[in-house]
């Protein structure tokens, strides 16, 4: 009989062929789909993340694991409604105006999704106003901005200013990253957080969401 642990092991190993049978077995056994997602599929990615951070796993392996998780998700998702899908929080992310680089951003999107976040990826070359529009439309907890170029790094600042001007800045936490971006720069432009790689960015989001939950409990 298949177990949830088998599923997470399968995700860890990136076994794209094996995952379907395994998840289907669990569904047939009547295991709660939410449990399959949280403890099986996302559970597997939760093992992957620290191994990636410590350098024991590499980018293509993480991608294979994430693809494996998504294969499993395809079978489980039809069994639950959107409201049932557990989400750790909603994050909007994009590469800023004038910048077309997305390798790091895409990696982060994948890792956030595998951590259980709902991610709205605005893509590359995202204009200042488009960030505002997305915040109003999707009401996210966190907005992430990426820039690989020193020339477009300043667009992080202008995007934050735009969010302020449009009166939506205080609804969200803002995190920034990309090769030329530093903690100092993040502080200067008034971002709430910075990280220098995808793994720590996920941890950063986790901390921000925990803080938000605490504040909510306190009724702030």
């Amino acid at each position: 009989m298949a177990t949830l642990q088998d599923v997470s092991q399968c995700v860890l190993e990136g076994d794209l062929d094996g995952i379907k049978d395994l998840v289907q077995d669990l569904i047939n056994e009547g295991v709660d789909p939410i449990l399959i997602i949280n403890e099986g599929l996302i559970g597997g990615m939760n093992i992957v993340a620290p191994l990636f951070k410590s350098g024991e796993m590499f980018v293509p392996e993480v991608m294979e694991s994430a693809d494996t998780m998504n294969e499993g998700m395809k079978l489980v998702k039809p069994l639950i409604t959107d409201e049932d899908v557990p989400s750790k929080g909603k994050i909007i992310i994009g590469t800023v105006n004038g910048d077309l680089h997305d390798i790091g951003k895409n990696l982060l999107v994948m890792m956030l999704e595998s951590r259980g976040y709902t991610v709205i990826d605005l893509g590359v070359d995202v204009k200042e106003e488009a960030f505002t529009k997305a915040v109003i439309e999707h009401q996210p907890n966190i907005v992430g901005m990426s820039s690989l170029l020193t020339t477009t790094m300043m667009k992080i600042e202008s995007t934050i200013k735009q969010l302020i001007a449009d009166g939506v800045r205080d609804q969200v936490k803002i995190i920034v990253g990309g090769a030329p971006v530093t903690q100092e720069f993040a502080d200067d432009v008034g971002a709430d957080g910075y990280s220098d790689d995808a793994s720590t960015a996920v941890e950063l989001c986790d901390r921000m969401m925990e803080e938000q939950c605490k504040l909510q409990e306190l009724g702030v």
Binding site: G55, F58, V59, L100, I103, N106
Partner: protein, 266 residues
Amino acid sequence: MLTIVGELINTSRPAVKEAVINRNKDAIIDLAIRQAEAGATYIDVNCGNMINNEEETMEWLVNTIQSAVEVPLCIDSPSAAALDVGLGLSRYGRPMINSISDEEERFDTVLPLIKKYNAKIVVLCMDSTGMPVTADDRMKVVRQLHKKLNQAGVADDDMYFDPLVKPISSVGTAGIEVLETIRKIKSDYPNVHFMCGLSNISYGLPNRAILNRLFVVQTMTLGMDGYVLDPTNNKTMADIVTAKALLGKDNYCGGYIKAHRSGLLG
């Protein structure tokens, strides 16, 4: 003839940034001399992350480098103003600009500098529609840029196409698409040159050096004739010298034998 652009004078490297902030001439001169002696045909100057005083930094770097070596410079910046400063001070040979692309603003601001300084130009296979994935994506940009540069009077011999190397860790076909692009450019525009930084190919993977080294050999086999790299890395330079001989571009194997006598081949 291979073009080797020495990449070490770049303020995104912490040691260089520190030297620049402290105006430590000796450190910069040491990097310039070591790269020139190792066979750099151009020395790259990049201070693009000094966003508050890039032009002033560019001026100091170019003057410092040229106080010690007479190698032509590759002026490398996202800012047209900083390019202008660096190119204006370049004294030895014809300078190179890194780079132009078919992103509208970039093209319009860099083209006048090519003409003004009679510079050679690194042409990035990228436009404002996004990063190319396939060789065909890249060739669309190549054709467009070649046409525009040609119409502006830039000679094929002065164009160095950069096929845009991306990590195979995120897209498995990133390497083969670059090889295919080189083959196509070589067949459609036999008189242009190439330029690329290689180390991107291995991003996200362990033991990056072996991937970088093999990719030098693979790209050279298809006709790549220019690299932005660390020329003081003996292993890379040994690969290049050896590949040149194997590809029949080394008369009487003279370069190879010379490298042997100098101890470069180990």
